[in-house]
């Protein structure tokens, strides 16, 4: 007699493989190849790849079923076999299948070990040391991250590549914090946030290349321009909510991009704007030789010139700008207008009943959020020294929104973690070549499966009357 459980598992795994086959036959099974102008396209069949993938999926699903039924050891064994198969010199039809089977094995082992790990984590959290670590984790995480961010350029890892990545991540942290005001606090879903980023970038690019204004002079102006655009967007969408609001903001983002693309006289169209000057340090420039009447930073400080100095300087500027964004938001949350943003997200009708003017509240949220995007945009232009409408496509808005959502709406630390994951991961996955976006997507799905409310989904009250634990009986 066959164990009915085994039968059920086999059935389930076969069904999964069948679904995968139906989905995969068009994506993996065929490939169109251009065989010269006369013959046009022809099919190339890759059924062996598909078959191998299906076998892997079958066993992977079987392993997951075992793990779910508490058969941990067989599941772990199967996972290890899969990892070994992936790492073995055995000849699979494509390199990707090696990755696929190995990654599947890793996931399977994680799934099988998860209940133990979960128990162990909970047990560890109850020990005195665990409690201390927990406190550090929840209350000091921000400060620890800030400390790491400040000393980062002086550590041995701080080469060109890491610093570049650091600047990139911090830019997105700032954008995430800016959008968090609109989406996380005020609850207004904005899919066109990149428009304000573009306005800030073009404001600096045009004012610096055509009117010779410096970075520090333009920065507040760019913020003001973007804020006015925020209000401009705010007016037509005041009465909209949810999906409808999202569609209009999406359209707004596209309008700005298309204007930048087509108003060639003003923006130089698709060719973009180049030779944008970088930011200066007390009037000194970051270059090997200074232009007429200026001095270089290395001359001013009396240190030998090195290309990385400029990068470190940019790093600290964006760190400072991001921190200002954060401090401003934290402060706003304690003020009536910030409180009104949150209340508006919770219940607009109740807000009106309390005498809050929803129009003004929404407009300030849009304006303030846009202002920070404008700052970040100016910084971006000064860092890249070249901008074109291509940098401000919808995918940028989507990434920034993903950072806010994955971080846990309204959580400041969550935005940082999500930015590190979303911007950092694709860089680290670069070795996977074409499959890195696949791995990236997988990582995003995993976050949403394990942390459906975002990495940090818990909202801390903005004011506590008593320290945690001592207040109230409830």
């Amino acid at each position: 007699m066959v164990d009915p459980r085994l039968l059920k598992m086999l059935k389930d795994a076969a069904l999964t493989a069948l679904v995968a086959a139906a989905l995969g036959i068009f994506i993996v099974g065929f490939r169109t190849v251009d065989v010269g102008s006369r013959a046009g396209l022809s099919f190339q069949y890759e059924f062996v790849d598909l078959a191998v993938a299906l076998v892997i999926i079958f066993f992977g699903r079987l392993g997951l079923q075992m793990a779910a039924m508490g058969l941990r050891w067989p599941a772990i064994a199967l996972g290890i076999v899969m990892i070994a198969a992936g790492a073995s010199p055995m000849q699979l039809p494509s390199g990707f299948l090696h990755w696929f089977v190995a990654l599947g094995g890793v996931l399977l082992v994680i799934r099988a070990v998860w209940p133990w790990a979960d128990q162990a984590i909970h047990a560890a959290a109850r020990t005195p040391t665990g409690r201390i670590v927990n406190t550090i984790g929840t209350q000091w995480l921000g400060w620890v991250l800030l400390g790491i961010a400040i000393v980062m350029p002086f550590t041995p890892f701080a080469d060109q590549k890491t610093m570049d990545l650091g600047v990139l991540i911090l830019t997105y942290v700032m954008l995430g914090w800016g959008l968090n005001i609109v989406v996380g606090l005020a609850g207004l879903l904005d899919l066109g946030y990149v428009a304000f980023y573009a306005v800030g970038a073009y404001a600096y690019a045009l004012l610096s290349t055509q009117h010779g204004l410096g970075f520090w002079a333009v920065l507040p102006l760019a913020g003001m321009f973007s804020a006015s655009f925020g209000i401009l967007l705010g007016f037509p969408v005041l009465r909209l909510r949810g999906d409808y609001l999202a569609i209009v903001t999406l359209g707004f983002g596209e309008i700005i991009r298309l204007v930048l693309l087509n108003w060639v006289d003003f923006t130089n169209g698709p060719a973009g704007i180049g030779t944008i000057p970088g930011p200066t340090l007390f009037g000194a420039v970051f270059a090997e030789t200074a232009p007429e009447g200026k001095q270089t930073v290395s001359e001013m400080l009396g240190i030998p010139f090195h290309g990385i100095h400029r990068l470190i300087f940019l790093y600290y500027i964006i760190l400072l700008l991001a921190l200002i964004t954060n401090l401003f938001t934290q402060r706003m949350r304690r003020l009536p207008v910030g409180r009104a943003w949150e209340a508006l997200r919770e219940d607009e009708t109740a807000c009106k009943a309390l005498g809050i003017n929803p129009t003004n509240t929404k407009l300030t949220a849009f304006a303030v959020g846009a202002m920070f995007a404008g700052f970040a945009g100016s910084f971006f232009a000064a860092k890249q020294r070249f901008i074109s409408p291509e940098s401000f496509t919808f995918i940028e808005s989507a990434i920034i929104l993903a950072i806010v959502v994955l971080g846990g709406m309204g959580s400041q630390i969550g935005v940082v973690l999500a930015a590190v994951l979303l911007i950092g991961l694709p860089e680290w996955f670069r070795e996977l070549g074409n499959y890195r976006m696949l791995a990236f997507g997988l990582a995003m799905v995993l976050i949403m499966v394990f942390r459906p409310r975002g990495l940090i989904g818990h909202r801390e009250p903005s004011i506590r009357l008593h320290p945690v634990g001592s207040g109230g009986s409830g």
Partner: protein
């Protein structure tokens, strides 16, 4: 008769093409507790919301202390000293009790805040116990207390309550009605109460109106209406809380 606080004259309200109120007249004097009772769909909530400017009256006029407020936006009306405890409570679920109360005090001079807070906590000690708790995790009765407390934080002259007893246990309903009576007596706030729980509402109120199909059908003192045969038949028979 005492000075008039709220005067509703010939108010007609429409939802699209459907007329919900057909020329309602009603008057609330300063310091009074006035209740509006009626069956489901009679237009009670619509009238209360029309007083708050959402939806606006298509016809007729609403005056507060002699000033016409018919065309004003909700937040403008609230600024003139009208507080609303909306139907279904509508507290902010993800904000703490304390933050909810803070939101109520948005329009008030912050120097009053501490004093007002203590008054609300004295009236509803349960809220003081739960001040750090999120609004959404409170029980129904506690949420109702919070909604009333939040409205009081705006130092209203006129408090509008929409079915505060809805979905609450009889014991809690009694507590809520006692609190409403105290607000009127001790704080001198004028109260306009919309209720389905006719028995409790009429016992509490100085005067009452009965609304049916968008029209005022009866009016009188609370005692008179309680004794009225028609009221008894339509709204009180079949047991009361």
């Amino acid at each position: 008769m005492a000075e008039t606080m709220l005067e509703v004259r010939g108010v007609a309200t429409f939802y699209g093409a459907i007329q919900a109120l057909h020329g309602v007249d009603l008057r609330v004097a300063k310091g009074e507790i006035v209740t509006l009772i009626g069956a489901n769909g009679a237009g009670k909530s619509t009238l209360l919301m029309t007083i708050c400017g959402n939806p606006r009256a298509r016809d007729g006029s609403i005056a507060l202390d002699g000033e016409d407020i018919t065309g004003l936006a909700t937040h403008e009306i609230v600024r003139r000293g009208v507080a609303q405890v909306p139907e279904g409570r509508r507290i902010f679920p993800r904000m703490s009790v304390f933050e909810n109360l803070q939101m109520g005090a948005t329009l008030v001079d912050p120097t009053h805040f501490q004093h007002d807070l203590e008054r609300v906590f004295a009236m509803f000690p349960r809220l003081a116990e739960r001040r750090e708790q999120r609004g959404g995790t409170l029980s129904g009765g506690e949420q109702q207390m919070l909604a009333i407390g939040r409205a009081l934080m705006s130092r209203p002259r006129l408090l509008l309550l929409d079915e505060p007893s809805l979905g609450l246990a009889p014991l809690i309903v009694r507590q809520i009605f006692e609190a409403i009576a105290r607000i009127a007596r001790e704080e001198g706030v004028t109260i306009f109460l919309v209720e389905q729980n006719a028995f409790h509402a009429l016992r509490l109120a100085d005067r009452g109106y009965v609304l049916a199909n968008g029209r005022v059908r009866l009016s009188g003192t609370g005692r008179e209406l309680l004794a009225n045969a028609e009221v008894r038949a339509a709204y009180l028979e079949g047991g009361h809380a």
